[in-house]
Subunit: 339 residues, 2 copies
DNA sequence: TTGAAAGCGCTAACAA
DNA sequence: TTGTTAGCGCTTTCAA
């Protein structure tokens, strides 16, 4: 079972040099005689030597690993979040950046207070150089716990107290404006929206941006039904909207899943999309493409944002920032068939 | 920036005992005087001591970390696989097992030969105690590379050479039989299937199992159109099937995504599901629920399988198996509206 | 440009 | 039951 290979010492002995010299060539430090450099490289190649990560970490205090933490609440939380296409895009963006910088993500789930304690504990052991956290929960205590433990942190989405930690976010209100304008240009005049819990900053911004745009177009009263980001809640909201406003001709949902739910209800009630009712979603997640009809939606560049998170964290680890930094991304309207 | 806390030595000094004693209580080893035990615990609590992972790993040769590797081919590979709901279920199952056994997964992507070399290299540094690999690619060389490097490995799905490495898999043929029987019981008599590339063992088994069941029911010639697991390919296959066999009344697709594509085409061509054509998918992935109509499908207990993978790997790491082990899971028919 | 030597923080024989 | 001691494999001053 022993998987131990040759050590630095073995290489040094075989090459007839000191451990320090081998270390230098392994780490690409200059001031090593080219001849010796080649000799050492040869011995390394020949012996199949691989530096031991633990030994190196012990002295450098670096692991080249960062934690990717999904923080939220609820027992079924983990299984739900992992099947959400959003999560996959985050992972993709994070991995995309890290792998080109020889770092690796370790996946952590913190679905309860106990789990959050454990996560902080784990990271306090020096297992990772920093943490990327995606909070599903409002008012997540984890970021502060991590900061208190002096662990570099970068968040996805603006936290309650924006000054607390570095984060990346989307210009949500601007994205909603794009949706509103598109509906207006299409000629929609009886526009409603399916919002999401207003305790979430992003949901608030989307609704505010949408309302503000319509208000300045002379439509101050927008019917609103609130969902909770799921297909079913979107369907329920659409039923409610249709009941109270049967003549609605344009709907903006705060995410694609709810837009999909809305589409299902509309079709079942015999409404043509977009002829009778135009629908716009938010995120440009994978369901936007598989939905019938394919959704016109506000694209959130999740992969890019996740990549930026990783970059930001890497910079923090290197001590490049002394203060929290935030990066804002622009939304973009993707026009497909639903509006 | 220094995040260094107190060390074992500090605790030992403050408690007035030796490092060994502190180590013993930290690791829960018996033979420690209860009084001293309590004293040490108190000092630990008070100083906020946390054992250093690197130092511990250096001597134990264990990291309590396993690699979760997604191996396949293609440049857009990573982004595609991460948005596939299947991947999320695997992650969920793996995390579910590991977290209750104080282990953690580090995510690795191996989309090219170069990347695979890097992965092996990385693991050879002793960064993880073993590897869980999910191959998207047929004839993936990674498992063998890992075994050659003496890294414990467990695979998702049977490899070409089943004796090569431990793996978990589904009884695919049995699952397909379930689908075939359900269609027969429904009264379908002109049954077709949308298969997947036959180079993939699972796809082969599903087709074989489906055909065998229908054959013994007196239907030896089943129309087959091949897709590649995507919605679009499923739609294309359905178009082909409908063109050559307009009177088809039952379709089994080798996965849910293709079944969804088939449903879209059927509805667009005015066929009612399941009255005119019954459709059955495979996997019971999230699209099975969001599809209209919701899909009757063969459930693959991915989370459970992924959990078993993690358990198997853990056992290998502990040296409990000297030979590769394989675990087979039963499929289960989930009846919804499409058939 | 190179080497000697001192740790990094921990575990695990072995003695006591 | 406890302590002493010898490393685990590497990086990094400091001298030479």
């Amino acid at each position: 079972m022993s998987r131990k290979g040759p050590t630095l010492e073995d290489v040094a002995r075989q090459a007839g040099v000191s451990r320090a010299t081998v270390s230098r060539v392994v780490n690409g430090i200059r001031n090593v005689d080219p001849g010796i450099q080649e000799l050492v490289r040869h011995v390394i190649e020949q012996t199949g030597y691989r530096p031991n990560r633990a030994a190196r970490s012990l002295v450098t205090q670096r692991t080249e690993t960062v934690a990717l933490i999904i923080s939220g609440a609820g027992d079924t939380f983990a299984s739900r979040v992992f099947t959400d296409p959003f999560f996959g895009r985050v992972v993709s963006g994070v991995v995309g950046y890290l792998r080109t910088h020889s770092m690796h993500p370790v996946l952590l789930v913190a679905e309860s207070d106990a789990a959050r304690e454990q996560v902080v504990d784990y990271l306090s052991q020096g297992t990772a150089d920093g943490a990327l956290v995606v909070s599903i929960q409002v008012a997540d205590p984890l970021p502060e716990m991590l900061t208190a433990a002096r662990i570099p942190v970068v968040l996805f989405a603006r936290p309650e107290h924006p000054h607390l930690a570095s984060h990346v976010d989307l210009a949500h209100a601007e994205g909603a404006r794009l949706a509103a304008e598109h509906l207006l240009v299409r000629g929609c005049r009886r526009i409603a929206t399916i919002s999401a819990p207003q305790s979430i900053p992003a949901a608030r911004d989307r609704l505010d941006g949408f309302r503000a745009t319509l208000a300045s177009a002379g439509m101050p009263d927008v019917p609103v039904a609130e969902g909770n980001f799921t297909v079913d809640s979107g369907a329920a909201a659409m039923v409610e909207l249709l009941r109270d406003h049967p003549d609605v001709d344009g709907v903006f949902a705060a995410n694609d899943l709810m837009a999909q739910g809305a589409c299902q209800v509309l079709r079942e009630q015999g409404k043509r999309i977009p002829q009778d009712v135009a629908v716009i979603g938010f995120d440009d997640s994978s369901v936007a493409v598989t939905c019938r009809p394919p959704l016109t939606t506000v694209r959130q560049p999740v992969e890019k944002m996740a990549g930026a998170m990783a970059r930001l964290l890497s910079e923090h680890i290197q001590g490049m920032h002394t203060e929290p930094v935030s990066v804002l991304f622009d939304a973009e309207l993707v026009v497909r068939d639903s509006a």
